[in-house]
Symmetry: none
Subunit: 175 residues, 4 copies
Amino acid sequence: MTEKQEKILAAALSLFAEEGYRSTSTSKVAKRAEVSEGLIFRHFGNKDGLLEAIIQLGEEQAKLLFADIIMTTEPKEVIRKFIEIITKTSQNKEAIAFWKLQFKIKWELEIYGKHKTEAVEQALVKAFSELRYLQPEKEANLLLTLMDGIATRFILQENFDLDETIEFLKQKYKV
Amino acid sequence: MTEKQEKILAAALSLFAEEGYRSTSTSKVAKRAEVSEGLIFRHFGNKDGLLEAIIQLGEEQAKLLFADIIMTTEPKEVIRKFIEIITKTSQNKEAIAFWKLQFKIKWELEIYGKHKTEAVEQALVKAFSELRYLQPEKEANLLLTLMDGIATRFILQENFDLDETIEFLKQKYKV
Amino acid sequence: MTEKQEKILAAALSLFAEEGYRSTSTSKVAKRAEVSEGLIFRHFGNKDGLLEAIIQLGEEQAKLLFADIIMTTEPKEVIRKFIEIITKTSQNKEAIAFWKLQFKIKWELEIYGKHKTEAVEQALVKAFSELRYLQPEKEANLLLTLMDGIATRFILQENFDLDETIEFLKQKYKV
Amino acid sequence: MTEKQEKILAAALSLFAEEGYRSTSTSKVAKRAEVSEGLIFRHFGNKDGLLEAIIQLGEEQAKLLFADIIMTTEPKEVIRKFIEIITKTSQNKEAIAFWKLQFKIKWELEIYGKHKTEAVEQALVKAFSELRYLQPEKEANLLLTLMDGIATRFILQENFDLDETIEFLKQKYKV
DNA sequence: TATGAATGAGACTTCATTCAT
DNA sequence: CATGAATGAAGTCTCATTCAT
């Protein structure tokens, strides 16, 4: 991966996150990356290829983010870590752009990459099970779904109070 | 609102929902509406005007959908009706397209129309309050957020089991 | 067929004939036709569509050109008319461009539209047959092939003496 | 001429023959030649230089092909050899590509290299003269022209029966 | 000699919008 | 009110060519 390739990816990531995939022209990407437009196509084939490269990156980052949770054994801690996952991201501008993009892409292209979260789902099921919840699968599912809602609000709703919501959740789950 | 105007709106609604606002050309809309392209501009000024008309429609539909909840007095029923709101829609193809579009637009344009749900929020706060929940505002907020998550999954995740989730929720809230 | 459509076709015809299909950009066509570039695509879909429209025109013109031959009954006259066919064209600048294009396209795209000449071939076979040639099919084929050669030379070889060749041919076939 | 230069020429030859000069990008040539794109420019200056090198090659090959005819003294044999010249090529894939290219270039660039065939023309004129044909120059010219037609058909017309045509010709000229 | 990253001009195409009818 | 031909700007992509290594 050359320096210019990285610049292209970074520029595309931020622009796609800001304005959406379709609304971002390759010429805009080139300009922000300070690179000729042709280079984008040399390295990524076409605009879709550029998007895929970014999604790829996303999957890797997601794995990294979830790795810690999956390795945790103490059930309460599993749930707490999962709930707190979004707070980790919320201070880092780049990370926010990154997750914003993941959601935007989901909606723009209607691709829901469930496989990415399967491992976490298993970990949550196990945790709820050990904590004697009656329907651990459903609990896990609900929590995952809730996190999608929280992410949605955090990204889209201007005055959304993330910390308060997270605190309230931890309190509810007693973690 | 003439017949052709309605045809245009219906065509735009379905196309925007299917392919997104940016990806839908006015010529496609005209074709599906069986109307000349120029007519779109005569009636709605420009493409943005067409979108706004659709959003407008959305707000009215939302009001209709929520009206029943707001008028309800029995707290448990308020919560139950709110939870079940999405099931109402889930059988009707047009309605699904409609809500899909609302979410897609939120993400594409990053406009989160909170005012639309304020009245419902109040109703939920009141309900939770009457049911002696300790933090009724936070409970209401969480439930609203959760519903965004459920909508997200319902629309985007192919094998999402809506009914199961709704049942589980009702059970949790004992409604 | 609107006036501008005809201007586009005429411009494309002359440019494709002068510089070849691939070497002629749609913007050049638009400029010569004094028309916006977009209009080409509105009317012909894409560059290939423009080419096809021209080829279509070619087939019609060819039919017209051959119609007379096919209707002729006197065998010597059939052959004479066929041999003279190219001379008909050779004075008219537009017609030359037109036939040049037909050949250029054949070579550029390697499409040999044999069906266009089938009717003439039949007429020639019949003529040679009536004139007691021993192998009328082969004679017809050879004459057709020879005409391709003459066209090739006429178009490409700067100092080619068309009239002399035609005279010589008529003398050979005693027509 | 290094090995890589030859690989470039061979790749360019086959590609130009298959798809035409304009339609073949230098990057395609480089890929087929298994060589870096830059090398083409180092060796041949630019794309036109590459084409010229190939044309050069063509002239040399043509000389070789015609050398035998020119050296022949027996008039009937001169004519027979000339008529059979194309059959020599028709079994060899590389040779076909080579001649196809020569014709394609003629049409794409409208360069008719008459000088290449002048020596053969002289030989044919002499042959026809010795055989007491009344207009040996015209006969030679006609035969040359006919061969262009045969080449055209052989290359472009899918079901063209080359052998039959050649046999028929030999019979006609009694050679 | 050889590579391949990088460029910039220009190719084809799409699209929102205008306007004469 | 309604049509659809026409436009011009902008979009994605290709390609010959250059240049540092």
